[in-house]
């Protein structure tokens, strides 16, 4: 019987130059402190020796064009490439110098996809979607020079309306947990993004976050109170700039009723940075 052996969620622009440019030296120092915490979490992840690592993250309109935007998508195939973006801005420069190709855990990805369709989750499948900073920035901070385990990239549409509900994302995570339990593998799972930033996805409001909202959702996670999290509405997530919390909801569904441990919480103004893990038996 398989197990989830490691679970964590964290912000995903772990790139000091971005914060130095947009926030200043304090922002740079804060993200450097977060990166150090994530590196320590990565050592703990490695000690659990996962056979595969499910990574739940979002596309920043880099990968899926407007021809079709999947609500949720499982990356299948044997390997996955880093996104290439010429003339990249700071977000995407987090990818510069990283390895071009990463292994995919083909069998687990296939099980999540195929069992999901059987269970009523109409996941999309992609054989070719590359990974942007939402995946590779935290993965790199976690692993450093260590080889990564085979990945199962799992996209949640966080930005192109209409979005899946928090409740639906939580249910997708419960599905992933069932697949893991039915399989033979020890699996890690991470979710990335957030916390609140870019409220209403409005350019006029870039630079704002909602600290009270972030404190509230993190406290719910610490207490293992998942009902109010699944009840969050799309309107609440949009107004607070918490779109990427949908990724975290998938992870919460996978580990519920476990309680989170806050490893880092930093209030920056532009965004609240965080890293949490869920101690598992």
């Amino acid at each position: 019987m398989g197990r989830i052996v490691y679970a964590a969620a964290m912000s995903h622009v772990l790139h000091p130059p971005y914060y130095e440019k947009n926030v200043g030296p304090d922002g740079k120092r804060m993200v450097e402190a977060l990166i150090a915490v994530v590196a320590e979490m990565g050592r703990e992840l490695a000690a659990r020796r996962p056979d595969a690592l499910v990574v739940v993250a979002d596309d920043h309109l880099n990968v899926f064009s407007f021809d079709a935007v999947p609500a949720m998508c499982v990356r299948i195939g044997r390997s996955v490439r880093r996104m290439a973006q010429e003339g990249a801005i700071e977000f995407d420069r987090a990818l510069d110098g990283l390895a071009d190709r990463y292994p995919v855990h083909e069998e687990l990805a296939g099980r999540i996809l195929e069992d999901g369709l059987e269970a009523g989750f109409d996941f999309a499948a992609s054989w070719s979607a590359p990974l942007d900073h939402a995946f590779l920035s935290p993965l790199t901070a976690l692993h450093g020079d260590r080889p990564m385990p085979p990945l199962v990239p799992f996209w949640v549409n966080c930005f192109v309306q209409p979005l899946s509900s928090a409740r639906r994302c939580f249910a997708a995570g419960q599905h992933i947990a069932r697949v893991v339990a039915d399989g033979p593998w020890n699996v890690g799972i991470i979710a990335t993004g957030g916390l609140s930033h870019f409220p209403e996805l409005s350019l006029a409001r870039v630079g704002q976050s909602d600290v009270e909202f972030d404190r509230r959702v993190v406290a719910w996670m610490e207490r293992g109170e998942h009902a109010p999290l699944t009840a969050l509405t799309g309107k609440e997530l949009h107004e607070t700039g918490s779109h990427e919390l949908l990724n975290w909801m998938v992870l919460l569904g996978a580990v519920t009723p476990a309680r989170a441990r806050v490893r880092f919480f930093g209030e920056m103004g532009r965004i609240d940075l965080a890293a949490l893990d869920w101690p598992l038996p």
């Binding site: 407007f66 003339g87 801005i89 930005f159 192109v160 350019l203 630079g207």
Partner: protein
């Protein structure tokens, strides 16, 4: 009606360097044939990212178009 074209144009500006250069050299010609409202067209031609965002252009595209994006 035309939100799709607005989004597709922003996506092409990010991903298609040749199209981006055509747009920088002659925005009206690059936009010819696109189903845009006059307001949307003017926001492109005058390169007004905030207006494009207000008209429905996705924030992450508006922010990240090489040499045109900005906060």
């Amino acid at each position: 009606m035309s939100r799709y074209d607005l989004n597709v144009l922003l996506y092409r500006l990010k991903k298609d360097r040749a199209f981006r250069e055509r747009f920088r050299n002659d925005p009206e010609a690059a936009l010819a044939g696109a189903e845009l409202t006059e307001e949307e067209r003017q926001a492109f031609v005058r390169w007004n990212p905030r207006r494009l965002n207000e008209l429905g252009g996705p924030l992450h595209l508006v922010l990240s178009i090489p040499d045109l994006g900005g906060h």
